[in-house]
């Protein structure tokens, strides 16, 4: 597109780095896309079972988690705005908040999964195999998709922790925050995937 800025080693090319990140996000969307495809086929085949099984998920926990993740996206965006304006301290504070929200999300998820396990609902469990086929599929999809999403949250937390480390080491600053911005993009993606998971699993009752 832009033929003048060509020498990566001489000028830093933030646009290029962002293009790379967006391409990576496409791959993430398609990774989840495979799962959403399976979900839609199985749900259209077993609408009643899905409806029934969804009653067993805790809508309260799901809603709290949704709020947590959306807020964390906000603090992430604020962290980037802060560093653009040169306020490193504020930026760090928002970044730490984002990380804490991420951890909180995982803790709630842990208790949700734990409760399911206690009721004997986990992949291939005798309790689950006794149920309707659609319900088995619902819970399999639930565990795989929220598990895959949880893994992404965990990776995001690691990523943001590295960014915090870079900020302390002063390699991220007002004039060079593309790493933070790209990590932010990743975090928003994780958030958006959850925005789709939440209604598909918790609100189909």
């Amino acid at each position: 597109m832009n033929q003048e800025k060509t020498n990566a080693e001489e000028h830093r090319d933030d646009t290029g780095a962002k293009i790379g990140m967006w391409l990576f996000l496409f791959t993430e969307i398609l990774l989840f896309g495979g799962m959403f495809l399976l979900y839609s086929v199985y749900r259209s085949k077993n609408p009643l079972d899905f409806h029934q099984a969804a009653f067993e998920l805790s809508t309260v926990a799901g809603t709290i988690n949704t709020l947590i993740l959306i807020t964390s996206s906000l603090t992430m965006a604020l962290s980037i705005s802060a560093i653009q304006k040169g306020d490193k301290k504020l930026s760090k504070a928002f970044l730490i908040m984002t990380i804490i929200f991420g951890l909180l999300f995982l803790v709630i998820k842990y208790f949700e999964w734990g409760a399911k396990f206690q009721h004997g609902i986990y992949p291939n469990s005798p309790e689950l195999l006794d149920r309707e086929q659609g319900e088995i599929l619902f819970f399999s999809l639930y565990f795989i998709m929220t598990g895959l999403h949880g893994l992404h949250v965990l990776i995001g937390i690691f990523l943001l922790s590295f960014m915090l480390f870079f900020m302390v080491r002063e390699t991220i600053g007002q004039n060079d925050f593309i790493k933070l911005e790209n990590s932010g993009l990743y975090w928003h993606l994780v958030d958006i995937v959850w925005i789709f998971l939440f209604p598909l699993f918790y609100l189909v009752t």
Binding site: M1, N2, Q3, E4, K5, T6, N7, A8, E9, D13, T15, G16, I19, G20, L23, F24, F26, T27, E28, L30, L31, F32, G33, G34, M35, L37, L38, V41, Y42, K45, N46, P123, N124, L129, E132, Q133, G134, I136, L137, S140, L141, F143, I144
Partner: protein, 539 residues
Amino acid sequence: MESNSPAIESFYDEKGKYSGIFSWIFSTNHKRIGLLYLASMLFFFSIAVTIGILMRLELIAPRSTIVTARTYNALFTLHGVIMIFLFVIPGLPAPFGNFFLPILIGARDMFFPRLNLLSWWLFISGALLAVTALFTGGGFPDTGWTFYVPYSIRTGTNVSLAVFAVFLIGFSSTLTGMNVITTIHRLRAPGMKWSRMPLFVWGLYATGWIQILATPVLAITLMLIIIERFFGVGLFDPAKGGDPLLFQHLFWIYSHPAVYIMILPAMGVVSEIIPVFARRTIFGYKFIAFSSLAIAALGSLVWAHHMFTSGMSETAIWVFSLLTFLVAVPSGIKIFNWIATLYKGSIEVDTPFLYIMSFIFLFSIGGLTGLMQGAVAIDVHVHDTYFIVAHFHYVMFGGAGFVFFGALHYWFPKMFGKMYREQTAKLACLILFIGFNVLYFPMFVLGWQGMPRRYFDYLPRFHAGHFISTVGSWIVVTGLILMFFNLIRSLFKGEKAPSNPWGGATLEWQISSPPPTDNFEEIPVIVRGPYVFKKEASQ
């Protein structure tokens, strides 16, 4: 610019942080990474060829000859997995794309050099894991490279590890795709408009998009196999409500576009080589460039033509059959443009050109038989027979494979700074071409007569065809040995290559052979298209 003085240090003499082998496996220089890919791929290629020879030897006569049925199942799986994931998919983009993409667009390196190195590490780790799967667990999978459920979930062989290996290799391929696209968008030299890019770059660009958009679907599908094997979630198990057919859909959503990952960069190389040896600018530049994108787009919508006999609605079959026929249009456009380029050219028949001509011949046979399978009525008859095996090898080996060899001979002087013996190389090409047809053409006939694929035994009436085919495999391997012997010999004893042995007009021929570490002393300013040759320019 056209200087070949020994004063210019090539990238082989680069003094980096490390020395010895570490100066290669930790190098972020795109040329070194390209050669790393080349070396590792050729290593795995030789293993897969050996397995292929063993399989042909087993099939020389009915009944068990040298291996048991179980071993045969593992052999064809291993042959497929290595050839597809470790040789043909990375075939042209990884070694030649890495080495030449930055040079062709006038850049010093890829956009993400460290990511580039990571791709190679993921590739080699995946490859080594696949080899580990051979000797651990229940032995190498016997599922075929498609890993179809439910068998891949129930078999006692080491499917999980092998599948994870493929997952890593897929990840490597995705990262390469990202890198290629970003590089093409951001690092083109001043004046290198999209319409001045060499067509190999266009091929890589289209390939990059397929890699990004299709490979993640394979990743999740493979992950589901592993999850299924460990936790029994039942997504593909009919007893638990799952549908095995969905696995096939997900698998082919990646694996059909994957054949275009294999062939598009090859088509790009063909468009590089033909104008150089015809001394004439390419005919229909824009059509070739856009047909690459068209193939990438259409090719993503035809996956279910692998499943005509698996059980789908009539409407779905009809639609996928139609879409399959449509892919032939952009492929045909390319073939016609290449032939038109030769018209009134002053053709020099050197080795790379011979390989490309073989490609056009073999690929046309492969493509036309592909159309036969796109027609539902014929496909039902030949599905899962040797007809498919023959078609696939004509497209992949006769297509991507022959272009790979052509590219190797075309760019060998640039990559290694040495010339090979032209006569020997031509002889090897001829032997390969003959051997190839003796090896695979009988398979069309066998398949038409009903010989099913993946069987280690067969009825006596198929004996003649199988015997001829096995003899063909010996001829092919003779050609391969001669070719590699010639190339390896010239690494040590070859004459020093000039900077532009073929009279090419693209940028890689304007710098010394082998290229200097940073490719260009000064980033060139591009004022003309990639295939404007001197004679034409002066006319």
